[in-house]
């Protein structure tokens, strides 16, 4: 369904709200992300930033509001069967990387990367293989193609998870605290892969606790607290000159100097 009037930006979130019973976790959030833009969402835990990210691909559907990707409404209200088919389709365009990697432990690295392209895009074994080789080269893990995830380090697992998401050729990538579960010395290798994606103009929405990374890579930073976007702007303004007291308080605690 194309809508040329309502959704101009590449990714648009309009009047997003979500509540569990009486608990409001997202309150009237609006966000537009242009193609190729990289947006970081920061904020204390429980601020709703992961929930917002997970609403984009319907993992945690909104209570009200709209999510659009390239003129297609992700969270259309449809009868159950049609909704399922629609969501399965649009999710193919939205890559997601999780804090705990969520690699499939019963499959090799190759199997992890080729599973969805083979099932959903009808790739032949040879085509899927070539895709796995290509994506692994990108994240620098060509030699691990036949390993099982249990034999990889955390950083390597996360890079494979990124390769798995990229193999679906997504239009946008969502990162949900992709480096939070990693040992400090493994964070950099994952950040490098994300920086490389940024240079290739992948559209990315990144929930992160790493202010330095957000400052160096992102075009825009959103600060969320208690379910609302308190303040947003380019990293230069957000990190050096935030206007809101809540933002300043948060950054005082989290900026490493």
């Amino acid at each position: 369904m194309l809508d040329h009037t309502a959704a101009q930006a590449f990714v648009t979130i309009k009047n997003a709200a979500k509540s569990y019973g009486t608990l409001e976790v997202l309150k009237n959030i609006n966000l537009s992300v242009e193609r190729g833009q990289i947006v970081a969402i920061i904020g204390p835990s429980g601020s709703g930033k992961s929930t917002l990210l997970r609403a984009i691909n319907e993992l945690d559907p909104l209570t009200s509001g709209e999510v659009w990707l390239e003129g297609v409404q992700i969270n259309r209200k449809l009868p159950p069967r049609q909704y399922e088919a629609h969501v399965n389709q649009v999710r193919q365009d939205i890559g997601m990387v999780f804090q705990h990697f969520n690699l499939f432990p019963h499959l090799t690295v190759r199997g992890n990367i080729t599973l969805a392209p083979r099932m959903l895009k009808g790739l032949s074994e040879a085509q899927a293989n070539a895709l796995a080789v290509e994506q692994l080269a990108k994240v620098g893990l060509s030699d691990k193609i036949d390993e099982y995830p249990s034999r990889l380090s955390g950083g390597q697992k996360q890079r494979v998870a990124i390769a798995r998401a990229l193999a679906m050729k997504p239009k946008v990538m969502l990162f949900d605290e992709a480096t939070s579960a990693l040992d400090p010395e493994l964070v950099e290798e994952v950040n490098l892969v994300m920086k490389q994606l940024a240079e290739e103009h992948m559209t990315m929405i990144i929930v992160t606790h790493e202010m330095d990374f957000a400052a160096s890579v992102c075009d825009r930073v959103l600060f969320m607290d208690q379910g609302v976007v308190v303040e947003e702007g380019p990293p230069s303004v957000m990190f050096q000159n935030p206007t809101q007291e809540r933002t300043r308080n948060f950054l005082r605690k989290h900026l490493s100097r």
């Binding site: 999710r91 997601m96 499939f104 679906m168």
Partner: protein, 215 residues
Amino acid sequence: MDIDLILRVYPFFLQAAWLTIELSVLTAILGLTCGALGAAARMSRLAILRWIAAAYVSVFRGTPALIQIFILYFGGPQIGIQLDSFAAGTIALGVNIGAYMTETIRGAIVSVDRGQTEAARTLGLSRWEAMRKVILPQAARMMIRPLGVNINALIKGTALVAPISVIELTYTAQRFIGSTYKPFEMFLVAGLLYMVIIYVVGQGIAWLDRRARIQ
């Protein structure tokens, strides 16, 4: 202890052990089928199926297997179900162990980390595709041992069909006690044969479990 007597009667016990094995195999097949269907129903999106499965589990785990066997074999004819003792015993035991296996299979499936489903669904896999390619292969490995426990219980449970005259190990022991008045020897022979069967099956399950764990 009367060794001579044991040597004289043990061919009959071997024959009876064979029947116990047949009974166990058929019961296991029926139980696994009921367990798989029960687990699927238990996790269905249709409330009515979930309710039926929950009722099945609580009825068959909440009453003695012996009563279930008696109801089917003795009570069945009253409501038009005529089964010979072997068939009645197999069906009652199979449906009974299926209730336990329903919970075993469901438990293994829900113990697979939620993140696995999320990762699969995020890639665009449907609920069923994610179940088949990501969840079930992992759950299958985790259910081998607990299903082994269920199978161990069902083999010993086959003794419960002795009262409806299926000529398996326990019935055979009782029959020979009637003519020899040597319960110690007769039950000892029957018990040893159960042990052999259970040991062999246990080794088989341990082997399957090891094989599934490699990689």
